[in-house]
Amino acid sequence: MKLMVSALALTAALVSGAPALAQDKIVKLGILDDMSGLYADVGGAGSVIAAQMAIEDSGLVAKGWKIDIVSADHQNKPDVGVNVARQWIDQEKVDGLFGVLSSGVALAVTGVAKEKNVVYMNSGAAASDLTGSACTPNIVHWTYDTYLLANGTGKAVVKAGGDSWYFLTADYAFGQALERDTSAVVTANGGKVIGAVRHPLNSSDFSSFLLQAQASKAKIIGLANAGGDTTNAIKQANEFGITAGGQKLAALLLFLTDVHSLGLKMTAGLQFTETFYWDMNEGTRAFSAKFSERMRNKQKPTMVQAGVYASVNHYLKALDAMGGNVHDGVKIVDKMKAMPTEDALFGKGTIRADGRKIHPGYLFEVKKPEESKYPWDYYKLIATIPAEEAFTPIEKSACPLLKK
């Protein structure tokens, strides 16, 4: 018995100690997301469903691959996220981390992914630092980032005459990055930033912050927050007559589920930037129909959930092209960067050397209630930001990987 145990242990040590030999067809994906908090509708359970759909659509299971998903709630707490990621990789042999909403957690997890050399495809976090100063060879940042939001919405608003800004900023990595990137765009386009107030994540009452913004007399109140914080701020800005008083709100990050929750009456006319909308073309509509069928509340996918689908899709394509899973994060990410991306949701694109996924962005406006013809008919397209202008130019990227 004792002999058998030590023989087993020896085999285990050999297998885990020799990654070069371990090319197999077994894959385990970890969806690490906010499953229960203020961002849960944006990603959460919907991101897990999106990943499952990507696995089904890949057809790899029929070809003899064994692909599993695990998921967990990081509660928007970096320490929780890091612990789960570590445990997954060490004990459950997870090969890749997907989703990871909330920039605080997203940035913290980068270190684990690099240390353990797994694939890390983020769809949900916004901080452009993920492929900037904090970039690693293991990361691919898929859906959007603060540079895109600033450039899309910020520029459009300044050009339309909104040249003085006051920010309502969620007080953590994401809000700060969004405020920083937007301020840069505002000043570069001839506007000025009058001030900012930082509110704690997940605040329910914004009246006090809104009054400060009102007192600043800025033309534009920039909401550098997301999810439940944004919806509460918009609702209360309406109540306090901020918009009636001539000031305008700029929701720098607004998701489909936020618009759905607030209703069109409250949100009509808001302009914001996204990279995916369910009702753009045949491909997005077909995916969205299948997706909402599987959601308990029948919601249409947000861009974050679409990004999880597309990133898993590309990851599996790369594995297929390599003929098996080499269980080496950097090698797989390099392969993904070498292959052009293509899917029904984001169209054709590429992944840059710094890990930034490149695709177009879209400036949308929320429809008026009378313009909405069917359920979830919420957006109209105002402008398309071409792929080459949507993200930080590579020559301005702060990513240390590029300095080799």
């Binding site: 229960s36 908090g37 203020l38 961002y39 849960a40 509708d41 959460g44 007080d171 107030v197 930082r198 509110h199 704690p200 997940n202 605040s203 329910s204 009452d205 009246s207 006090s208 912050f209 009054l211 400060q212 009102q214 007192a215 999810g227 439940g228 919806t231 509460n232 609702k235 209360q236 109540e239 306090f240 007559g241 008083g245 589920t257 936020d258 759905h260 929750s261 607030l262 209703g263 409250m266 308990r296 509340n297 919601q299």
Partner: protein, 292 residues
């Protein structure tokens, strides 16, 4: 940092008072339940959330608007509370506080999880009633009519409750029943029924706060979970079980929080707990608490 005008200061104090009225209403319900029944009701936040949802359903299914909800939602939730008391909490009478705490905490997680599963986390819209839309220009600020209504109404409810418990004969029975149930029973008072009704009343207060909050925040499954910890801090600062204590502390902490949002907004979610720690150091029974 301190260059704030008096106008802005006034408006922030008023906003603080509005938030304080929610704290007061919720902590009042908790204080009634703890003071009379010795139950630490962790389900209070979830019941508050369900009160708001109740208003939403009344509107979307039965077509009954805000004013109906203001009456019906506390009644429905109060009945639900009595059902909980009869079927579950009742069995824990006489056991350590911890059992009640665990039971209500578990219930809160179940309710919250169920609602989140079915309605998502973003929440559902609920409009301000037609009669209370609009706002008054007070010179130093723009006061939405609805917020003014919330302050006045919750203050009235708080004072009425305080009066009923501290100054009426019914309240006297109730207080006596908590001190010595068997003696009060000997006088022919149905103590178990009184306890059930009191729990139902406390839950009704939570539901009432939920209806008041529905037009201000989104009707969200997490609206109670986010608030309940602060409200517990309010009760602890005021003194566990003290009716007046919870009312006064609720409003006062709303003001303190409002001021923090002006001078150091980053700390606005923490300031209540800092005060709680300080108060516990100096007066372990809370500001209005009676030391046993």
């Amino acid at each position: 940092m301190f260059n704030i005008s008096t106008q802005a200061l006034f408006s922030q104090l008023l906003v603080g008072l509005i938030n304080g009225s929610f704290y007061a209403l919720l902590s009042l319900g908790l204080a009634v339940i703890f003071g009379m029944l010795n139950i630490i009701n962790f389900a209070h936040g979830a019941l508050y959330m369900m009160g708001a949802f109740c208003a939403y359903f009344l509107l979307s299914i039965a077509g009954l608007g805000y004013w109906w909800a203001l009456v019906l939602s506390p009644l429905i939730m109060g009945a639900f509370g009595m059902f909980l008391e009869r079927t579950m909490l009742h069995r824990l009478a006489g056991l350590d506080h911890l059992y009640g705490l665990l039971l209500t905490f578990g219930l809160a997680l179940i309710f919250q999880g169920l609602f989140q599963n079915y309605f998502g986390s973003s929440g559902l819209p609920y409009a301000i009633p037609q009669e209370l839309t609009g706002a008054q220009n007070l010179g130093f600020m723009f006061l939405p009519n609805y917020r003014a209504w919330v302050v006045v109404f919750s203050l009235a409810v708080c004072l009425a409750t305080w009066f009923a418990i501290e100054k009426t004969k019914l309240g006297a029975y109730l207080r006596a029943a908590t001190e010595n149930p068997s003696l009060v029973r000997a006088f022919g008072v149905n103590v178990p029924r009184m306890i059930t009704l009191t729990y139902g009343f406390g839950v009704g207060l939570a539901a009432l706060a939920g209806v008041l909050a529905a037009p201000i925040n989104q009707v969200r499954p997490l609206m109670g979970g986010d608030l309940i910890i602060v409200v517990f801090a309010v009760v602890v600062i005021g003194g566990m079980g003290s009716i007046m204590g919870s009312i006064v502390t609720g409003f006062a902490l709303g003001l303190v929080e409002g001021l923090t949002k002006v001078f150091y907004p980053e700390a606005s979610n923490t300031v209540v707990f800092v005060i709680m720690a300080l108060v516990l150091l100096v007066k372990p029974a809370g500001l209005f608490g009676r030391t046993a």
